[in-house]
C-alpha cells in the first residue's frame, strides 16, 4: 500500500503542490496584509457624516497623499523620484547591456578570456548592492562628477554641480547594479534564436551586421524586455546603495524644471523605498507613521505592477510581431 503510494510519486506531487501553495499563500498573504493595513488609513475618522461624503473625503485624502509634497506629508516627490530614476536607469542599462550581450554572444571568440568575462558578469550579479553604492560615490560622484565640474562648471566652484550626489549618479549606479541581469537575460535570448534563421539571412547575401540588425535583435527583443522587467523590479526596491549617490529623505525641489533641459540631473531625489524606510524607522511618531508606511508600500507595489504590465504588453506585442512558432504537426 505505502510502497505503491511512493511508487506512484504521490509524495513528490504533494511536496510540489505544497510548495506552490505555500508560495502563493505567502505572496498573496503579503499583498493582502499590505492592502488591509493601508486601505483604511485615509478613511475620515469623524463618526458623523454621510457615507457618500466620507467616501469623497477618503478619495481626496488619498489624492492629497499621492500628490502632496514632502512638507505636506505627501509622497509625490518620492513617486516622481522612483519613476525618474528607474526610467533613466532603463535608458542607460538597456543599450549597454544589449550591446555587451551581443558582443559576448555574437562576436567574442570562445575561449578562456570569454569564459572569464562570463564568470565576472555572473559574479557581478552576486555583489551586495551596498558595494555598488560605495563604488558609485567614489567613482561616479567624486571622480566623474568632480571632473565634469572642473571641465564645464568651473565658474560655480567650489560649490559642486555634478560632483555631489544626484539623480544622474543614482541612475548610473542602478544601471551598473542591474547590468549583469540585463546581459545574462539578453544572452539567453540570443542563444535561443534558431541557427536556421541566421543561416537563411546569410544565404541572401547579408553581412554579419545585417544579420544581427535584421534577425537577431528583433528576435531577441522579448528577452530584452524581460531583462528590463527584472532590472526595474530590482532597482525600484533599492535604498541602501542609493543613499551614497543621491537619494535623500526629503527634497525641497523636484528634479524637473519648466525650461530646457527639463530634467535636473544633478538634483538630489527621494524615492518610495527611501520614504518607506525613513517613515518606518526614523519617524518619532510611530503610531501615526505606520499606516502611512503601508500606504507607501502599496503605492510602490502598484507602481512596479504597472511598469511590469506595460513591459509585459510590450513583450507580447514584440513576440507576436516576430513570432516564430513551429507549425503544429
Amino acid at each position: 500500500m505505502l510502497r505503491n503510494w511512493f511508487r506512484q510519486g504521490a509524495p513528490w506531487i504533494w511536496l510540489n503542490a505544497g510548495a506552490v501553495a505555500m508560495s502563493l499563500l505567502l505572496v498573496f498573504g503579503l499583498l493582502a496584509f499590505i492592502v488591509v493595513q493601508s486601505i483604511g488609513v485615509f478613511w475620515p475618522s469623524e463618526l458623523t457624516g454621510h457615507t457618500g461624503e466620507k467616501l469623497l473625503q477618503y478619495l481626496v485624502n488619498w489624492w492629497q497623499f499621492l500628490s502632496g509634497s514632502s512638507g505636506q506629508a505627501g509622497i509625490f516627490p518620492a513617486i516622481l523620484g522612483t519613476v525618474l530614476m528607474v526610467l533613466l536607469m532603463s535608458v542607460l542599462v538597456t543599450p549597454l547591456g544589449v550591446l555587451a550581450a551581443v558582443y559576448l554572444h555574437e562576436y567574442a571568440k570562445e575561449g578562456l578570456l570569454l569564459r572569464l568575462i562570463r564568470v565576472a558578469v555572473h559574479n557581478l550579479a552576486g555583489v551586495p548592492s551596498i558595494v555598488f553604492g560605495v563604488f558609485g560615490l567614489g567613482f561616479f560622484v567624486y571622480y566623474l562628477g568632480g571632473n565634469i565640474d572642473n571641465l564645464f562648471f568651473n565658474d560655480s566652484l567650489p560649490t559642486p554641480t555634478f560632483g555631489t550626489p544626484g539623480l544622474l549618479w543614482v541612475s548610473l549606479t542602478l544601471a551598473l547594479l542591474t547590468l549583469p541581469v540585463v546581459i545574462v537575460a539578453t544572452e539567453q535570448g540570443l542563444a535561443g534564436i534558431p541557427k536556421n534563421l541566421r543561416l537563411g539571412c546569410f544565404a541572401l547575401g547579408a553581412t554579419k551586421a545585417e544579420v544581427i540588425w535584421k534577425i537577431v535583435l528583433p528576435q531577441a527583443s522579448p528577452a530584452m524586455v524581460t531583462a528590463l522587467m527584472l532590472a526595474i523590479a530590482r532597482a525600484a526596491g533599492e535604498v541602501a546603495p542609493l543613499v551614497f549617490v543621491g537619494v535623500v529623505k526629503s527634497v525641497s525641489e523636484l528634479p524637473l524644471s519648466s525650461d530646457f533641459p527639463y530634467l535636473q540631473l544633478q538634483q538630489k531625489i527621494t524615492s518610495l523605498s527611501m520614504h518607506i524606510y525613513d517613515a518606518g524607522l526614523q519617524s518619532p511618531d510611530a503610531q501615526r507613521a505606520e499606516p502611512l508606511v503601508f500606504a507607501s508600500a502599496l503605492v510602490l507595489i502598484t507602481l512596479i505592477f504597472i511598469l511590469n504590465l506595460l513591459a509585459y504588453r510590450l513583450r507580447k506585442r514584440l513576440a507576436l510581431r516576430y513570432r516564430n512558432r513551429p507549425l503544429p504537426e
Binding site: L197, C201, F202
Partner: protein, 255 residues
C-alpha cells in the same frame, strides 16, 4: 567523362572536415553554366555539404575546415579577398529544411531585395509578386501576403524559400531537395521553374528522387561517402553508367 562546356563552378581538390570527421574528400568537379546539375547519393554522403561549399555556408557551421578551391567564373571563392556577402548574393541556396523568417510572406520575399537597397514600394511589390509566381505560390498566398510565413504549410514554406532565393536573381541557384515536401502538381511546377531558370542561371539540385534527377537534370553527379564516384551527362549516367556503384544506386540495388 569528357566535358565540352563552360564551367560556371570549377571545384578543385575540395575537402571538408567537420571537427575531425572528413565529410568531403578531394572532390574535382565542373558545374556547367546554364544547365541543371543533379547531385545524387545515399543519405549522409555529403551532398548538402558540397552544395554549401559553393557559397561558403559551411564556415558558418561549427568547427569546419575546407581545403581546396572552388572557382566561380574562374575566381577562387575561398580567396581571402572575396566578399562573402556578395558571393552569397550571386550564389543563392535553398536549404533542405525550409526556414522562413518569422515575418510576413511578403517580407520574406522582400528581405533579400531590401538588403540590396531596393526601397520603392511599387518596385518591391512587383518583384515580390513575380518571384512568388515563379515559385508557383502566388495563387495560394495572394490574399495573405501579410500573414506570418510560419503559418504556411510545409510545402508552401518550401516554395516560399525558393521564391525568396530567386527574388534577388542569383547567377547560381543551389537547391537542396527542393521538392521533398511537395505534392506532384507543385513538384511539376517547381521543375518547370527550374527549366525556365536555366536559360539564365546555373542550377544545382540535390534529390533523392531518381526520376526527378533523370527528368530535369542535364548532368548528374553521384556521390558516396564523401567522394565523387561519377559525373556525366544525365542520359549517359542513367543508361550506361561507367561505375558499378552508380548503376547499383540508380537501380536501387545499393547497399
Amino acid at each position: 567523362m569528357t566535358a565540352e562546356f563552360i564551367a560556371k563552378l570549377d571545384v578543385q581538390d575540395l575537402s571538408l572536415k567537420f571537427a575531425d570527421k572528413t565529410v568531403l574528400q578531394h572532390i574535382n568537379l565542373r558545374i556547367p553554366e546554364h544547365k541543371i546539375t543533379a547531385f545524387i547519393g545515399p543519405s549522409g554522403c555529403g551532398k548538402s555539404s558540397l552544395l554549401r561549399s559553393f557559397n561558403r555556408m559551411n564556415e558558418l557551421l561549427e568547427d569546419t575546415q575546407t581545403t581546396g578551391e572552388v572557382l566561380l567564373d574562374g575566381k577562387n571563392i575561398y580567396h581571402s579577398e572575396i566578399e562573402v556577402a556578395e558571393l552569397r548574393r550571386r550564389v543563392g541556396i535553398v536549404f533542405q529544411k525550409p526556414n522562413p523568417f518569422p515575418h510576413s510572406v511578403y517580407e520574406n520575399v522582400a528581405f533579400g531585395l531590401r538588403l540590396q537597397g531596393i526601397k520603392q514600394a511599387r518596385q518591391l511589390d512587383e518583384l515580390v509578386e513575380s518571384a512568388l509566381r515563379k515559385a508557383a505560390l502566388w495563387d495560394e498566398v495572394r490574399d495573405r501576403l501579410h500573414d506570418s510565413a510560419v503559418n504556411l504549410s510545409g510545402g508552401q514554406q518550401q516554395r516560399l524559400v525558393i521564391a525568396r532565393a530567386i527574388a534577388i536573381e542569383p547567377e547560381v541557384l543551389l537547391l537542396d531537395e527542393p521538392a521533398s515536401a511537395l505534392d506532384p502538381i507543385s513538384t511539376l511546377k517547381i521543375e518547370e521553374l527550374m527549366y525556365d531558370l536555366k536559360q539564365h542561371y546555373t542550377l544545382v539540385i540535390v534529390t533523392h528522387n531518381m526520376q526527378q534527377a533523370a527528368r530535369v537534370s542535364d548532368y548528374t553527379a553521384f556521390l558516396n561517402m564523401g567522394q565523387l564516384i561519377e559525373f556525366d551527362e544525365t542520359n549517359k549516367m542513367f543508361t550506361d553508367p561507367s561505375q558499378r556503384a552508380t548503376e547499383d544506386y540508380i537501380t536501387g540495388r545499393f547497399g
